[in-house]
């Protein structure tokens, strides 16, 4: 039996959390993917799930978003969810405006209202003036930002980001990471991020859950309470290096 930390007790009360997973288990064809996953996320937090590729992190997201039912364990979510998958998944036949507004269209909001709302956000994600462009005309980073905005249109409460920058080159990636921090401070929503990139997790998160490989269990929970105002400075901090060493030992 692997040890896991009782994570819910870590927070005072535990009921202020916006997402709460308690002892979630999941198997696919008799292969155990998730074992006793307990996670709790407070409103306004940016929490990362860090683990090796293919360890079942995406399954956790699928359970949170309701795409896959869990075998056992309790799931509590307070709010609506926007789920951004690894690929940008923009529809090539819709222009950026229609792509971003898609969740609003599906909710049945009329054209004027949804265009007004999207236009308000487009400058924030740096896509102003690209409303009429098609996804094929945009760069990878721009498409990812459009996808991010579409996720936001689906829900302003909780965002699940599944390795959102994994397909980008390293320069674009670091730009997008800083951009995400800026977005987060502007929107003040709750973000749960999946990543296999230790540096990304250390740069972005308020807390990190470290997952083992299959079946995924929570090995450790790390709280990053330094350089909270300017997370960019973390890149130069010795604390970061120590944590990185600790994480590397765990993985």
């Amino acid at each position: 039996m692997k040890m896991h930390l009782p994570t819910t007790s870590y927070h005072k009360g535990g009921y202020s959390s916006i997402i709460n997973l308690n002892g979630i288990e999941k198997s696919f064809d008799d292969i155990k993917v998730l074992e006793n996953i307990s996670i709790s996320i407070e409103k306004g937090e940016l929490v990362s799930l860090l683990g090796p590729s293919g360890c079942g992190k995406s399954t956790i997201f699928n359970i949170i978003s309701g795409l896959t039912p869990q075998d056992s364990g309790k799931l509590y979510i307070d709010g609506t969810i926007g789920y951004m998958q690894q690929k940008d998944l923009l529809l090539p036949w819709k222009n950026i405006m229609d792509n971003v507004a898609l969740p609003l269209t599906i909710k049945g909001i009329n054209k004027n209202a949804r265009e007004e709302k999207v236009k308000k956000y487009l400058p924030i994600v740096g896509l102003e003036g690209y409303e009429k462009s098609y996804p094929s005309q945009l760069s990878g980073g721009m498409r990812q930002r459009a996808s991010f905005l579409r996720t936001l249109m689906a829900s302003e409460d909780i965002m699940l980001l599944d390795e959102p920058f994994a397909s980008l080159d390293s320069i674009t990636k670091s730009k997008m990471q800083l951009w995400l921090l800026k977005m987060k401070s502007k929107l003040n929503n709750t973000i749960l991020l999946i990543t296999h990139d230790i540096d990304e997790a250390l740069l972005l998160s308020d807390r990190i859950y470290i997952l083992s490989s299959k079946p995924a269990t929570i090995k450790k929970e790390i709280t990053l309470d330094f350089n909270m105002d300017n997370k960019k400075e973390r890149l130069l901090s010795t604390k970061t290096l120590k944590l990185k060493e600790e994480i590397l030992k765990l993985l």
């Binding site: 789920y83 998958q85 529809l91 094929s136 005309q137």
Partner: protein
């Protein structure tokens, strides 16, 4: 680059002109009779003399082709949507569709004539039989090939079945559908003409058979020429409309 593609287009034109020229010379030099092989000049004259009659017959053929074609598209859509929505329908009908393609058109056309007479109806049915298959198969395959991640995206957005179909499945399938429609467009006029050969009151196929029976080969060739031109125009128009429909696919990078 552009210049060379323009010159590339010139090569086939030159070879056609050469072939026609040689054809004319060979017929003239050897005094080949018109009922064996008419010269290009004879064909042109036959086309000019019989132009009005040929056009009247062509209209009938075009009518049969397009009515059949449009019905094929409508039927293909209905069946494809049903097959996509209910797996049991797909499992029941997909193999039948494939098997139906082994039925030779020429063999069943006379049966249809017995059943439906010498009018345009049996021809339209033949056109539907020929065109329906490539359209429905391309549509079903298109609906099936949608990336599962896209379907999950729509699920997380709580999209209804109809919304998923309208915003995702249909536009996705249209790209595949167009390849099926292009194949069907090449079949449709040919099928109408072949069905007309086997008996009918009007149409370019009927005209051809009558001309052939009178050994007026110049008129037969003239009608072949008309069929070729009509087919090329049809494919061109469908291609043009199709590209309009998927304009987003041809958009270039960099605004």
């Amino acid at each position: 680059m552009k210049k060379s593609t323009n010159i590339d287009k010139l090569y086939p034109v030159l070879s056609i002109i050469t072939i026609i020229f040689l054809w004319q010379i060979i017929v003239d030099l050897n005094n080949i009779p018109k009922y064996i092989l008419p010269s290009p000049k004879d064909i042109a004259l036959a086309l000019k003399d019989d132009f009005n009659l040929i056009m009247t017959h062509t209209k009938v053929t075009l009518y049969e082709s397009f009515v059949g074609f449009i019905f094929s598209i409508i039927l293909a859509f209905l069946l494809a949507i049903l097959m996509d929505s209910f797996t049991i329908i797909k499992k029941s009908f997909y193999p039948l569709l494939v098997i139906s393609q082994t039925i030779p058109t020429i063999a069943i056309a006379p049966i249809f004539i017995i059943w439906f007479g010498f009018g345009t109806l049996p021809k339209i049915i033949m056109v539907i039989m020929a065109c329906f298959f490539p359209i429905v198969i391309s549509l079903v395959d298109g609906l099936e090939k949608i990336d599962n991640d896209y379907l999950r995206l729509f699920k997380t957005m709580n999209a209804s079945k109809l919304q998923t179909f309208y915003h995702l499945k249909l536009p996705y399938a249209i790209v595949h559908l167009l390849s099926g429609i292009k194949i069907a467009a090449t079949y449709m006029i040919m099928t109408a003409v072949v069905s007309e050969w086997l008996g009918g009151e009007g149409g370019i196929g009927v005209y051809m058979v009558r001309a052939k029976n009178a050994y007026a080969l110049d008129k037969v060739f003239a009608s072949i020429l008309v069929i070729m031109v009509v087919s090329i125009l049809t494919i061109y128009i469908i291609d043009f409309l199709g590209n309009k429909l998927i304009h987003w696919k041809t958009k270039k990078k960099g605004v």
